[in-house]
Structure formats: C-alpha cells, structure tokens
Amino acid sequence: MKDCIYLDNNATTQVDPAVIEAMLPYLTTYFGNPSSMHTFGGQVGRAVKQARLQVASLLGAEDSEIVFTSCGTEGDNAAIRAALTAQPNKRHIITTVVEHPAVLNLCKRLEKEGYSVTYLSVDDQGLIDLHELEAALTGNTAVVSVMYANNETGVIFPIEEIGRIVKEKGAIFHVDAVQAVGKVPLNMKTSTIDMLTLSGHKIHAPKGIGALYVRRGVRFRPFMIGGHQERGRRGGTENVPGIVALGKAAELAEAHLAEIEQEKRLRDRLEKGILSRIPNTVVNGHPTKRLPNTTNIGFKYIEGEAILLSLNQFGICASSGSACTSGSLEPSHVLRALGLPYSVLHGSIRFSLSRYTTEAEIDRVLEVMPQVVERLRAMSPFNSD
C-alpha cells in the first residue's frame, strides 16, 4: 500500500498508527468485559469513558449522548427504527433520493412494513428544495432523515435550515453524518439535530465501530436488543478496542479540522488541474457547497470502470459511485438523481482525499490522468462527437 496513491477515502480510510497504538492494549492486556465485576483495576471502564468523551468533544455533545455502534449502517438503522418505535402513532418518514443505501434500503423495507416514505428529489447540483420538504411534513411525520454530506459528490445539505423546518413540525431529525464528521466542524449544542450517525472507518479508525449521537431527552428505543450496555441503548458486549480506537480517531479528527483548508487546497488543485488539462470534463454536484476532500468528475464519452482500472495500473486508487453499489453494474443512484447526461453518468470518478494525501500525489495524478483519458477516448466510438 505504501506505493499506492489512495484517493478513495470516502469508501474507507487508512487506520492512523496512533489509533492502532491506542487500541492495542485493549486487544491484548486489558481484554476484560467492561460489564464484569473484576475490573482489571477499572482500566477498561475508564478507557471506554474517555473514548466517549473524545467522540462527544468532536461533536460538541455530552458523553451521555454517545451510543457506540458497529458501523454507520447500524447507526442509521438504529436511529430511524428508534424514532419509529418511540412514536408508534406516526407512520410517515421523509428522506432524500441521494441517501446511502443504509437509509434508502431501510426506507424501502419500511414501506413494506406499512410506513409511507417521501423521497425528496435533488436538483442538478444535488440540492433539495426546502419548499418540497415543508410541503411533505405533516403531524404524521415521525422522522426526517437527511445526510449531512453526500458520499459520492460531497454535496453538503443546509442541515440547520432543514432542521428548523423539521422541528417546527415536531418530527425527529436524524442526520447521517458519516461523510461529514471530521471534515466539517459540528456542534450539537447549537444544532437542531436530534440524532447523528458516524462511522469509525471513515475517520481513520478501524472498521467495525461507529457511534450514534442521541440528543438528551429524545425518546429512544434500542435497535439491538440485549443486555444493559450503553445505558440500555445498545445490547451486546462492548467492542472495547474499537471504542478506544474511535475515541483516539475522534481526537485526531478534531485536531485535523484546523488544517482542513490544506486538504481542500489539494482537492482544488486536483479538480482545477483535471478540468484545465482534459477537455470534456465536468464537476458533478454543487461547486462550493461541498466537502473539502471530495471531487466527483465526469469524463465524457468513456466508462468509469475502464478509467479506474487504468488508474490502478498507475497505483492510483479512486472509485466510481460508492463502494457499496460498485458490485452492481447500475450507474450510481446519486448521479442519476442529479439528472446528469448519459455521457457524464457512466464516466464519473470520485476522488476523495485524506490528511495523508500529499501534493506530490496530486501532481502525479495530474500527470497520469490525461494519458489515461486520452487512451480510452481514442478507443471510444463517441470520441469524435
């Protein structure tokens, strides 16, 4: 991996060595069950508590508002199910067409279970229409689930504006912030958000750990039912090494927020470099309301998988669509929702940076990219259009 230029950080990130160092003692020496009497000197319980404080700090939340989960998908499932179970009389859900499958596929299942779901559409820049939201909201709406930032385009929704509208109607407001955490500053103290999902492996913690923020006072029912762990909000023996890792990763992410402009500068360098060097390229999604680390670029007349494989030959890792849907051959539901022309739809590539990305790496991509595109276009029947 050392030789790989990794620009697929929205799919998953490299675990920070300091995170591994922090978690290792809890994989080896302090392996105890935090719910057990014998406490290994209380070490395990204290470590979990510290991690909870670290995650809370990143979100501007209280530690008692953090529930550890196994991943972002669990957080999304838990939040939406909790909102529905806690308000059995409300049978309506609002979400958007560009959500992650963790929300979208859950909503499809919920429709089968008898709930009605409104899927808000997006415009060609990936933004929703707040009037459409207002019109959809009723007293019957149990929960509005909207992502903070899109994983494919990086487009950021106006979360607090949305939240104010949602709260007026008394619905619970859930935000899938898996892609936003660590990339934009968050402060739950001044936010309208009731519940917020995050996932460890997107912020340099390992896979298998995540967290759900649940605002104090918001009615909650556990999704994963079992023992009294997480104050009765999530059953199952606590993943102590994962929790400690997430705590450390949150601390590092908070520190990194101060230098996020540097990451944005590199992203802009990449984006402008590609647009200026390669004709028939476009940026997908809103030009400025976007995560600082993500750019999704359409290379007209050629196909995404071919581009990715060519980039792989040069040791460059990027992606088309989300990792999740890349098993399927369908073009991404997000790009389709933007109503992109077919010529762009099939040839779009997401580059997503991290704090490890260097200027030299970006320059290498800028060097390679034109040849890759040229070669494929030379083969394409649409090239001469």
């Binding site: 719910s35 057990s36 009497m37 406490t39 209380g42 319980g45």
Partner: protein, 158 residues
C-alpha cells in the same frame, strides 16, 4: 464494575467489629437489631452494648450477609456508634454512613440504609418500642434486600 473507595475496600477486607457481644457487666445491656433476610440477599444483625447510667453505646458489633458495601457499611456503622449517646445515635443517617466510607456507588446506597434500619431496630428494642415489620406485599419493592418501599427510601435518602 463498582467503583468502591479505598475505605470501602479496607473495611470490607479488614472489619474489626464483626461478631457478637457476649461479655456484659453490671449496668450494661446488650440489644440486637436485625434487618433483611437470606431471601433478600442481604441481612444485618447489629449488636449494641449500652451503659444504662450514661445511655452510652460502649460497644457495637455486626453480623452481615451481603455484598462488599453491606459489610463495609456495617463496619462503618459500628465505628460511628461506639461512644455515642443513644439519643445521638438515633440521629445517625445512612448518608453519614456512606460519607464515612468516602461515598458509595448510587446503586449501592441502599446497603447503607440497611445499617440505619438495623440501628433503629436495636434502639427500639432497647426502648421497648414494638417494631413494625415490613411486609413484602406492597408490590413496589425497590430493593429486594429487605422490605422497604420507594416512599420510605425517599424519606431516608433524600
């Protein structure tokens, strides 16, 4: 799991006042007060030696079946009682027992309540006042240790 203070652990490990009182001399009376049962999972039998002329508790001992904080609370109770006048002892609260131990986890506060109740029982016996028995029939038992109801816990703890 429980965050016990060093003092709780020390009193649990090395209690000095466990046992019964057998030796008495003229002018002294030995009384016992008992709460809890084996069914509840905790029980405390408190033994007091009282000097009748001065109304002073000259010795206090305990027999306890229960968790570490029950044992430590019993030890603390007997420590606190020794040398006290009966009327002073009547004022002792479970909070003082817990404070004497440097605090108890919230879930374990009721273990100190047991001490206060045993003391009450012993002094009532000394004074010849009949003791009301706590029937477990009120259906709202908070602590299965002994039959105290929620209102009573409120009264004692708060």
């Amino acid at each position: 799991m429980w965050d016990y203070t060093e003092k709780v652990m020390e009193y649990f490990q090395n209690p000095r006042n466990q046992g019964t009182i057998t030796d008495t001399t003229e002018g002294e009376k030995v009384v016992t007060g008992e709460v809890g049962s084996i069914a509840c999972g905790d029980a405390l039998r408190l033994h007091l030696k009282i000097d009748e002329a001065t109304q002073t508790i000259t010795d206090a001992r305990f027999q306890t079946f229960g968790c570490a904080s029950a044992i430590a609370s019993s030890e603390a109770l007997t420590e606190l009682l020794k040398g006290k006048k009966v009327e002073e002892a009547m004022q002792l609260t479970n909070r003082q027992i817990a404070e004497y131990l440097g605090g108890l986890p919230e879930e374990k506060m009721h273990c100190s309540v047991m001490g206060q109740e045993a003391l009450e029982a012993a002094i009532y016996t000394y004074k010849g006042i009949p003791i009301e028995t706590h029937e477990e029939d009120d259906g709202r038992l908070v602590c299965s240790c002994f039959g105290i109801s929620e209102p009573r816990i409120r009264r004692i703890i708060l």
